[in-house]
């Protein structure tokens, strides 16, 4: 048993280094950067299934006029759908640096699933609506932090539809139409 633990730990360490190394060279070059490359750790020449991966989460900058990335490491799941759900849960947990959260505290991710056309459906608890502080910018930041985070980390996801308690909703707080799936935006740019 302790041997297994040590091996797992070693594997984990290797992955952290591998991801860190690749991330260092690739990470800053592109903004928005492409989905995080799948990393494979090599141990004694044989590939080992990595046990964690890095994801980029999008939070609000202090002036609330755009989104910015923060990195997290999440354990690998049985499928990317499970990883996508964990990633959104990390987003809900909020930022660790000086960025601002985009999702009201206490919100839970009920489910996440992906259809054959690359649309991810993320189902949240009612709090996403009832505890939302409102404001067009507040609502846009909430929506696009979810959409950008999912599309940036999972190449299988092209668009994201937000559900509340299993159902389609008209808006989160009275502004943005949430009846349709959203494509990523990677900024909340000014038109002029």
């Amino acid at each position: 048993m302790p041997e297994l633990n040590r091996r797992t730990l070693l594997g984990l360490l290797l992955v952290v280094f591998a991801v860190g190394g690749i991330g260092f060279f690739l990470g800053r070059a592109l903004a928005p950067s492409p989905p995080v490359p799948q990393t494979v750790a090599i141990q004694n020449g044989t590939p080992v299934e990595p046990t964690s991966r890095m994801v980029r989460l999008y939070f609000a900058v202090p002036d609330a006029d755009k989104l910015q990335e923060e990195e997290r490491t999440i354990p690998r799941a049985a499928s990317f759908v499970g990883e996508a759900k964990q990633t959104v849960e990390e987003l809900v947990n909020g930022p660790q640096g000086e960025l601002n959260p985009t999702i009201p505290p206490g919100v839970k991710v009920r489910q996440l699933y992906i259809d054959s056309r690359g649309t991810a459906y993320v189902d949240f608890t009612r709090d996403l609506q009832t505890k939302h502080p409102g404001g067009s910018v507040g609502e846009l930041l909430t929506i696009y932090s979810i959409v950008d985070t999912l599309t940036a980390n999972f190449e299988e996801i092209d668009r994201v539809k937000i559900l509340v308690e299993g159902s389609e909703v008209l808006t989160l707080a009275g502004h943005i139409d949430t009846r349709h799936p959203f494509k990523p935006r990677f900024s909340l740019e000014r038109v002029r």
Partner: protein
């Protein structure tokens, strides 16, 4: 007479429900057999072992799912999405594993039985926990409805193409009769709509047909029915009455589209503006750190703006609300469309949690999602062009082209209006200018006219909240918005080459309102 019966029925239901809950059993009736599955409540939902599902559906348990005939269901522990071929469907709860074996929520049982016996044959009563195969297959799956600015759309999803006809029983009631239609158990109750046009739809199973009785709120009005495929759907569009009843009394224009065929008289100037104070009633909008409510501030500013426009420009101002009431978003654009307004301004204040954000910004509708049915429908139906004399196909094509042009024009004008308002606010308020942005705003979606949304300050910022409490500041905000409206009007009319008749009775009449 009826009461004892209801009580008896209730008692029976209680007995049935409690019995199942105690024993944890789900009864499956199929091919003359009764099979009792042992169920277990997991996270408040009924689960059955996958092995037993395989037994009743004649399937085979795989390492990663279930094979029923040609159909393979791929399951992943803890994930609600089930992959079938190249599609995925969603269960209400994910499969779980007990001692290495899958347990699945009861809906999965229904799906597995459908794979064997065909879609439309498997019935399920949640209350009594009985699953059975119906003698007849149902072919009408569910009913949806949506309120558009000028009509209500009712959609019935079918499992096969069916013949149907819509008949008028009397002025307030219509019947949609679907030949050979069999209602699913989901369609056993009346659906209350109450959207101002339709009160409710009651599905009833008749002999060899299904009947949907549609009760209208108001009398008469155009109807349109058509079928769509993949999946098969029957669509009923119900419009409001043609002559005035559903319109605000202020509207003076003739109602029928024919009467508004393009004429050779010079185009009129800008005549009607709709001001939409955001939120209201039970929807307070954003709330400032000291408790100032968005719904109150924006109504105050909107009423000031109305006064300024009426006094100085003399054009007609229509408000979506003038007091603290809840007005649904669809209704706001519907008001603007019915008033055939020239443009629409929604007034809001902004919020961003825990941020130092301050300043103002203006928005217009982004192209995403450009295929928005609501907007397409609104614009198409508000196009007042007489297309008489054309073949139906040509008419459709022409409408599509006109719609596209109108949409492009409205977007262009909306972005100009957003820019002009931004510049005027910048000049007068001299606070942080956050620019013109675009986003898919619900309230702008159905507007068949240039439409913008302004966020005049951050109520979440303590300094800006204090400013918004001052009468003087609110007046300045209204002045800034007024300056934008006046400039847009002048520019619009210059471009159209109009010298608007401002001396007429209409202006004077509007000024009095």
């Amino acid at each position: 007479m009826r009461k004892p019966f209801v009580i008896l029925l209730g008692a029976l239901a209680v007995v049935l429900v409690t019995r199942s809950a105690w024993t944890g059993e789900i009864e499956v009736l199929y091919e003359g057999r009764l099979k009792v599955l042992s169920s277990e409540a997991i996270n408040g939902r009924d689960y059955v072992p996958l092995r037993q599902v395989a037994e009743v559906s004649g399937g085979k348990v795989l390492r990663d799912g279930l094979q029923v005939g040609e159909v393979a269901f791929r399951l992943v522990e803890g994930e609600a999405g089930v992959v079938v071929g190249d599609t995925t469907f969603l269960l209400a709860a994910p499969p779980v594993k007990r001692r290495g074996a899958f347990w699945v929520p009861i809906e999965f049982l229904v799906r597995a039985l459908e794979a064997r016996y065909g879609e439309g044959r498997v019935y399920w009563n949640k209350g009594t926990k009985v699953v059975w195969l119906g003698k007849d297959r149902y072919n009408l799956r569910l009913l949806r409805h949506h309120a558009y600015p000028d009509h209500t759309r009712i959609v019935i999803e079918a499992l096969a193409p069916l013949n149907f006809r819509l008949q008028e029983d009397d002025k307030a009631r219509l019947s949609l009769r679907i030949e050979g239609g069999i209602l699913s158990p989901m369609l056993s109750e009346a659906v209350r709509i109450n959207d101002g046009l339709i009160t409710m739809v009651e599905p009833t199973q008749g002999q060899g047909e299904a009947i949907f009785r549609i009760s209208r709120d108001s009398f008469g009005g155009l109807t349109r029915t058509f079928a769509l495929t993949n999946p098969d759907r029957i669509v009923v569009d119900l419009y409001g009455p043609e002559s005035g009843i559903n319109r605000p009394p202020a509207t003076a224009q003739p109602a029928s589209t024919q009467a508004q065929a393009p004429s050779l008289s010079p185009p009129a100037g800008l005549e009607t503006i709709v001001i939409d104070p955001g939120h209201g009633g039970r929807d307070t909008g954003a709330v400032g750190p000291k408790g100032l409510r968005e719904k109150d501030v924006v109504l105050d500013i909107a009423l000031r703006l109305r006064r300024l426009i009426q006094k100085r420009l003399g054009i007609r101002v229509v408000m979506t609300r003038t007091e603290d009431v809840f007005v649904p978003l669809e209704e706001r654009t519907a008001i603007a469309n019915r008033a055939k307004a020239d443009f629409f301004i929604s007034i809001h204040v902004n919020a961003a949690p825990r941020s130092r954000a301050r300043g103002f910004e203006t928005y217009f509708l982004s192209r995403e999602p450009s295929d928005s049915e609501a907007r397409a429908s609104a614009i198409r139906e508000n196009l007042s062009v007489n297309l008489g004399g054309l073949k139906p196909r040509e008419e459709d094509a022409l409408r599509a082209i006109l719609w596209d042009m109108a949409n492009t024009l409205y977007l262009k004008e909306s972005s100009e209006l957003a820019q002009i308002l931004l510049e005027e606010i910048d000049k007068i308020l001299r606070v942080n200018n956050r620019g013109v942005k675009s986003a898919p705003f619900f309230v702008l979606m159905g507007a068949a006219m240039p439409a913008v949304l302004t966020e005049v300050a951050f109520i979440s910022n303590p300094k800006e909240e204090s400013k918004l409490q001052a009468e003087q500041y609110k007046e300045r905000v209204a002045e800034a918005l007024y300056a934008g409206v006046a400039r847009f009007k002048a520019r619009y009319e210059r471009r159209l080459g109009v010298t608007p008749p401002r001396s007429g009775g209409r202006a004077a009449e509007a000024a009095q309102r």
